[in-house]
């Protein structure tokens, strides 16, 4: 079975309007910029996007925001794209804010067959309003449900031809978690290597989590996002 696809649009053929998508990255760092470009090209709407941020103004997921493709966003820090507030004010996007630790933990739960869990984070704050509270061994926790997506778009550093992945520095962030929590996982990578080139002890995402792989055509450099075709 060949997981390697020639381009983003081809790999994204499974994305449908109304789908929930997880998109990796902490801002633009570790974001699958080529796949996001592909999303911008295809005709899908009413997406729910689960991602820490919505990119920056007009960059990364910010492009999809401007296209009006995002119906709802679940994340922890939308502030990094100043346009999100404008769309929210106009009622053009629904937002769900989660503490960053809760966002990442809920993804892990979703990928691990855990229905939900109790976290200390947020107890007694506005973000816990309407959430079930429970005391365990004298400590207060709030219930958080697992989250999953139809599709995860992630960025890794290297893939082998089987689909095993390793990451690069803080571009790792949410990517390995999203790889576990979606029905279809599409990875954008800097480099594709032969089976056996990644050390079995070092592989962060084993291949059973990965469905499709494309090579990155846009990368983040010191000078900003550049094309590397």
């Amino acid at each position: 079975m060949d997981k390697i696809h020639g381009n983003a649009v081809q790999a994204l053929s499974c994305v449908q309007s109304g789908h929930t998508l997880m998109v990796g990255g902490f801002g633009l760092i570790g974001a699958p910029l080529t796949l996001i470009d592909g999303l911008a090209e295809i005709d899908v709407t009413d997406l729910t996007v689960i991602s820490n941020n919505l990119g920056e103004a007009g960059r990364g997921l910010g492009v999809l925001l401007r296209q009006g493709k995002i119906q709802k966003a679940i994340g922890s820090y939308f502030t990094s794209n100043r346009e999100v507030g404008d769309y929210y004010q106009k009622g053009e996007i629904e937002l769900q804010l989660l503490p960053q630790g809760t966002l990442s933990e809920s993804m892990r739960a979703g990928g691990a067959g855990i229905g939900g869990y109790y976290t200390k984070t947020g107890v007694g704050t506005e973000l816990a309003k309407g959430k079930e509270e429970r005391e365990i061994d004298g400590v207060k926790y709030v219930f958080e449900p697992a989250i999953r997506a139809n599709i995860a778009l992630i960025k890794a550093h290297k893939a082998d031809t089987l689909g095993n992945l390793i990451y690069y520095k803080t571009a790792r962030n949410f990517n390995p978690l999203m790889a576990t929590a979606a029905d279809v996982v599409i990875a954008e990578v800097d480099e594709i290597v032969e089976q056996g080139e990644l050390s079995p002890e070092e592989i962060v995402t084993p291949h059973l989590f990965v469905d499709k792989i494309i090579k990155a055509k846009k990368i983040l450099t010191k000078a900003g996002v550049v094309s590397c075709e």
């Binding site: 760092i29 820490n52 929210y88 630790g101 107890v123 520095k169 571009a171």
Partner: protein, 226 residues
């Protein structure tokens, strides 16, 4: 350097002096980020919640756009550093594996409860790791200017902005004074150089304890620096 910068550096330097290795420290965005340059103890390890233990300064030529801190600013890595995913990073935070978190605030009240993520009337757009750090770090040090730009106290009787946690900070460091939070009460332990107790009283809405030592007007319990 501007006066604003001077004030921030003063606060950051004072916060750094609170750190004794071995310890694991998480630095928030803003003034806390400045604390890093005043640390020279190799046993103080900096954690950033986006997935790195062993944050270091970085020089322009070694900047890597994929190695950043929680404020998305480029950082370096120490020898012995490690990278991990976001769930693992927050497991460290929530699980009690971070010794000290140094955080900026919008407000802090006289019980030590802080507000640093949302302003009423504005869109609530971001929370990041603030709530996790508050519930997880063993010790929380707040670094903040004593007043807002218009001179209003940031140390209030009660926060008017949404709080970040029900947990109190352990220490508050401003350009005017240092307070310990003991049993949910602020206790003045130190005046910053050149600041008088009268000035602090005037600029502080929150009630705080002045526990004088030896009946000396300028000595407070814990006042061991000058």
């Amino acid at each position: 350097m501007s006066e604003k910068n001077d004030i921030q550096e003063l606060i950051a330097k004072r916060a750094a002096s609170e750190l004794k290795g071995p310890c694991i420290v998480n630095l928030g965005i803003g003034i806390p980020t400045l604390v890093a340059k005043y640390i020279d103890d190799k046993n103080i390890h900096l954690h950033t919640e986006n997935g790195l233990l062993g944050v270091a300064d970085v020089e322009e030529e070694h900047i890597d756009p994929n190695r950043v801190n929680a404020g998305k600013l480029p950082v370096g890595e120490t020898i012995g550093a490690s990278f991990f995913n976001s769930a693992e990073s927050f497991a460290m935070i929530r699980g009690g594996h971070i010794d000290v978190a140094i955080l900026g605030v919008l407000q802090v009240d006289q019980t030590g409860v802080i507000a640093n993520w949302a302003v009423p009337g504005k869109n609530i757009m971001g929370v990041g790791g603030a709530m996790d750090l508050l519930v997880g770090a063993k010790k929380v040090i707040v670094t903040t200017t004593h007043t807002t730009k218009d001179g209003t106290s940031k140390l209030l009787k009660k926060c008017t902005f949404p709080v970040t946690s029900t947990r109190s900070a352990d220490m508050i460091i401003t350009e005017m004074a240092v307070f310990k939070v003991v049993n949910r009460k602020l206790q003045l332990i130190e005046l910053m150089p050149g600041v008088t107790i009268e000035e602090v009283r005037k600029k502080t809405e929150a009630e705080f304890i002045e526990q004088r030592i030896d009946n000396n007007e300028n000595s407070f319990a814990g006042y061991i620096r000058s």
